[in-house]
C-alpha cells in the first residue's frame, strides 16, 4: 500500500509531500507500475535536489535489494537495483572485491549509480560507473521489461545511463567488481599553493588510480585555488605492515558520529567557514600513508546525517565540469566568484575527469569538475546563477544529480544530446510515464 510522506534529496531542498510505494519484489513493482500514469524511482535519496521525487508516485527501491549471483572467479555481480553500495562494501571487501567506481558516499543504490552514471576519484582512468555495467533489466511501466546492454537495446542503454530515472525503472543489474588485495589505500598527500599548480599536478598524475583535490574555496588573490591533492592506489599485500598483514581485508569499524540537531544559521557564518577551510587545508599533512578504505573513499560517511550542518533551510550543491581547454580560465572565474561572494562551503572538491561517456545525459566530460555546497539562501541562488553563466561561457555543464535550481536554458546548453534523449523518450512512450520534479522543472 502507498503512503504519503515528505521527501527531499540530500540537500533537504526542496521538501515535498509525495505518495510513496515500496514494492518488495520485482513482480510487485511491475504490477504497481502498470496503472500509474506518472512515476519516478527513488534509490537512497542521496541525489541533492529534486531528481528522485514525484508527488503522485515515487517508487522507493530499497526493498529490492537482493544479490542474485556473484562469480568469485570474475567478480561479476548480478543484483537487484535497490542494493546499497554500503552493503556490497561490507560483504565483498572482506572477500577481496571493491566497486569499480564509487561516489564519495557508500549510501547509494546501484540503480541510483546507473541513473546518475556516477564517477569516482578514478574517473580519469576508469570512466564512470556505467562503463562497468554489462546489462540491466529496465521496466518500462507498460508491461515491457527490456534487457539493455551495449549490444541489446543499445539506445535505451545509452539513454538510461545518466538518464535520471526518466527512461524506466532499472530492476536488475549485472556489473563487474574490482579485485583488491587489501582493505587499505596507499595515499599520497600533496599541498599546492594555487590553482595553476593544482592543475599542473593533476596533469602529471594520470598514472595514479585515484586522484582528487580538496580546494580551499575561501582563499583569494595569490592563494586562489590552493589545495590538498590526494592520490591513491589500492594497497598491495607488500605495502602492509605486519599488524595489518594479519588481516589485510578487514575494515576497521567505526561508529559513525551523528549531527544531532539542525545547526543554527550562524554556524555557517563566513568566519566559521573560512576557519574550517583554513584548518582543513592545514590538517592535510603532506606525505605518504597507508589508510583504511573507508576514510579514504567515504570521509563524510563517518558523520551520520551531516547534511543537518546546513540547518533547516537546506543547502544547494553546485557541481559543474568544464572542458579541458577552458578549465584553467573557467575554474579561476568560478573560484573568484565564490570567494568574492564570501559564500564558500565547508568542503570543495576539484577533480580531473577523463573522456566523456556514451550516456546521452551523462555528466562527465574531459576536463575539470568542481563541487561545493551552499546554504539555500536567496543570495546563494543568485550566486549559483552567476556560476551557471561562467560554466556556460566556457562550454561546461552542471551535474543534474546535484541540482535543484538550474534553469532549463542553462541546462540544455550543456547537454548536446538532449534532443536525442527526448526523442527516445517519446518513441518508447516514456515521456509522460516517467517524470520527476527535476524533469518537470527542466522540461525534460
Amino acid at each position: 500500500m502507498p503512503y504519503r510522506a515528505p521527501l527531499a534529496g540530500w540537500g533537504r531542498y526542496p521538501v515535498r509531500e509525495c505518495t510513496v510505494w515500496q514494492p518488495i519484489t520485482t513482480q510487485a513493482l511491475h504490477e504497481t507500475l502498470m496503472p500509474l500514469p506518472s512515476v519516478i524511482a527513488r534509490g537512497n535519496g542521496r541525489s541533492y535536489g529534486d531528481a528522485s521525487m514525484n508527488v503522485d508516485a515515487t517508487i522507493d527501491m530499497r526493498r529490492l535489494d537482493r544479490l542474485i549471483t556473484f562469480d568469485e572467479a570474475t567478480g561479476v555481480l548480478v543484483c537487484e537495483a535497490g542494493v546499497l553500495l554500503s552493503d556490497l562494501v561490507a560483504s565483498l571487501v572482506p572477500r577481496g572485491w571493491f566497486p569499480p567506481v564509487t561516489p564519495g558516499t557508500r549510501m547509494v543504490t546501484i540503480g541510483g549509480m546507473i541513473a546518475s552514471d556516477v564517477h569516482g576519484k578514478n574517473h580519469h582512468a576508469a570512466g564512470s560507473f556505467c562503463d562497468h555495467v554489462d546489462w540491466f533489466d529496465l521496466d518500462l511501466g507498460d508491461g515491457r521489461v527490456m534487457r539493455c546492454s551495449p549490444s541489446e537495446n543499445a539506445d535505451l542503454f545509452a539513454a538510461t545511463c545518466g538518464g535520471m530515472g526518466l527512461t524506466g525503472i532499472i530492476v536488475r543489474v549485472s556489473f563487474r567488481m574490482l579485485k583488491i588485495e587489501t582493505a587499505f589505500v596507499r595515499q599520497r598527500t600533496i599541498r599546492v599553493p594555487d590553482l595553476d599548480e593544482a592543475l599542473a599536478l593533476f596533469e602529471q598524475s594520470h598514472g595514479s588510480t585515484y586522484s582528487v583535490a580538496w580546494i580551499d574555496c575561501m582563499a583569494t588573490g595569490k592563494s586562489l585555488g590552493r589545495s590538498a591533492i590526494l592520490l591513491g592506489e589500492h594497497a598491495k599485500l607488500t605495502d602492509l605492515d605486519p599488524a595489518r598483514l594479519a588481516a589485510p581485508l578487514v575494515r576497521r569499524s567505526r561508529k559513525p558520529k551523528t549531527i544531532p540537531i539542525d545547526f543554527p544559521n550562524f554556524a555557517l557564518s563566513g568566519f566559521n567557514v573560512r576557519m574550517f577551510n583554513h584548518l582543513y587545508y592545514a590538517m592535510q599533512r603532506p606525505g605518504d600513508a597507508v589508510v583504511d578504505v573507508d576514510p579514504y573513499f567515504y570521509p563524510l560517511d563517518a558523520i551520520f546525517e551531516w547534511n543537518r550542518i546546513y540547518g533547516r533551510q537546506g543547502f544547494l550543491q553546485y557541481q559543474s565540469v568544464l572542458p579541458l581547454a577552458e578549465s584553467a580560465k573557467g575554474m579561476r572565474r568560478l573560484l573568484e566568484a565564490i570567494s568574492a561572494a564570501g559564500a564558500g562551503s565547508f568542503l570543495a572538491v576539484l577533480k580531473r575527469m577523463g573522456p566523456g561517456s556514451f550516456g546521452m545525459l551523462s555528466f562527465p566530460m574531459e576536463g575539470y569538475t568542481l563541487a561545493l555546497d551552499f546554504p539555500a539562501t536567496s543570495d546563494n541562488f543568485a550566486l549559483l546563477e552567476r556560476l551557471d553563466a561562467i560554466t556556460a561561457d566556457h562550454g561546461g555543464r552542471v551535474y543534474l544529480t546535484k541540482d535543484a535550481r538550474v534553469s532549463p536554458e542553462r541546462f540544455a546548453a550543456g547537454y548536446p544530446r538532449l534532443d536525442e534523449f527526448r526523442n527516445l523518450r517519446a518513441q518508447y512512450g516514456l515521456d509522460r510515464r516517467f517524470s520527476s520534479l527535476l524533469s518537470q522543472r527542466l522540461g525534460l
Binding site: A5, V20, I24, T25, D65, R66, I68, D87, S91
Partner: protein
C-alpha cells in the same frame, strides 16, 4: 550461545529480515519461513554472509504446525516468531472476519506454532523460543485493542511457556519492540525518540538471547512509558484518547 539452525517465522517482514542478517552474520545457520516463495531472499543472504541459508514456505494460521516441523528435517535450535498482523482497528471492529484474521495471526497461529516447536525443542542444548509481541498488549486502548488483545494473549502465552519450561533446557523470551520503522508503520508519524530501526531490534534480540533475558523492551524507554500507562486508574484511562 545462539543455537543453530535459527528458524525465522515471518521472514519477509522488516524485523525478520534484519534478524536473519544478524544471525547469519554471527555465523548461524538460518531457515527463512514465510508465506509463498522467499528463496530469492535465502540466496541473497547466503551470498552476503556466506552462511548456510535455506527457505521454506509457511502459513502460521494453517493449523498444520506439527506437519510443518516434521517436514523441516531438523529440530531448530532457535525459533523466532515474527509473523503478526496489525490490521485496521476500525475495519476489525466492523467486520467479524477481519477481526478473526487479526486474532489468528497474532495469537492462535503464533501460539500453536510455538507449542509445536516447544514439543520438539525441550531437550536441545541452548534451545530458545523468541516471540515478538508488542507494547500494544500491555493495556487495551481504543485505537488498536483487537491487535493489542491478541498480543496480550501472546504475551501471556510466552510467559506461561517460559514458566512451563523453567526446568527443561528451553528458554523462552518475550520481545516488546515499541515502534519500529517497518512496512507495518510506513507513513505513520512516529516520534523519532520512541522508534527503533529493525536492525536495532535485531541486535537487541540477539544480545538478550545471549544473556537469556526473559522479557525485553528493545527500546528501554518503552518500559517506563508502559509502566506509567498501566498505572493510570481505569476510570481516568477510559476517558483518554490514546
Amino acid at each position: 550461545m545462539l543455537a543453530s539452525p535459527v528458524l525465522i517465522l515471518g521472514a519477509r517482514s522488516d524485523i525478520g529480515r534484519a534478524l536473519a542478517k544478524a544471525y547469519a552474520a554471527k555465523g548461524c545457520e538460518v531457515i527463512l519461513a514465510a508465506r509463498g516463495d522467499i528463496s530469492a531472499d535465502a540466496t541473497d543472504l547466503a551470498l552476503r554472509t556466506e552462511a548456510k541459508v535455506r527457505s521454506v514456505s509457511v502459513d502460521i494460521t494453517d493449523g498444520a504446525a506439527d506437519a510443518f516441523f516434521d517436514s523441516l528435517g531438523v529440530v531448530p535450535g532457535t525459533v523466532v516468531m515474527v509473523a503478526g498482523l496489525l490490521g485496521d482497528q476500525a475495519e476489525s471492529a466492523a467486520n467479524d472476519e477481519t477481526a478473526a484474521r487479526v486474532m489468528d495471526s497474532n495469537y492462535n497461529g503464533p501460539a500453536r506454532y510455538l507449542l509445536a516447536a516447544a514439543r520438539r525443542m525441550a531437550n536441545v542444548p541452548d534451545a530458545c523460543i523468541i516471540g515478538i509481541s508488542s507494547v500494544a498488549g500491555d493495556r487495551g486502548r481504543a485505537s488498536n485493542f483487537i491487535y493489542g488483545s491478541a498480543k496480550a494473549g501472546f504475551t501471556a502465552f510466552l510467559s506461561g511457556l517460559r514458566n512451563a519450561h523453567a526446568k527443561t533446557g528451553l528458554h523462552v523470551m518475550t520481545v516488546k519492540p515499541g515502534f519500529v520503522r517497518t512496512q507495518m508503520t510506513a507513513g505513520m508519524k512516529l516520534s523519532p525518540v520512541m522508534t527503533a530501526e529493525p536492525e536495532q531490534v535485531a541486535d537487541a534480540i540477539i544480545k538478550a538471547q545471549d544473556k537469556k533475558s526473559d522479557v525485553i523492551y528493545t527500546l528501554g524507554r518503552w518500559r517506563l512509558v508502559m509502566t506509567i500507562i498501566r498505572a493510570i486508574p481505569e476510570p481516568i484511562f477510559k476517558k483518554l484518547s490514546l
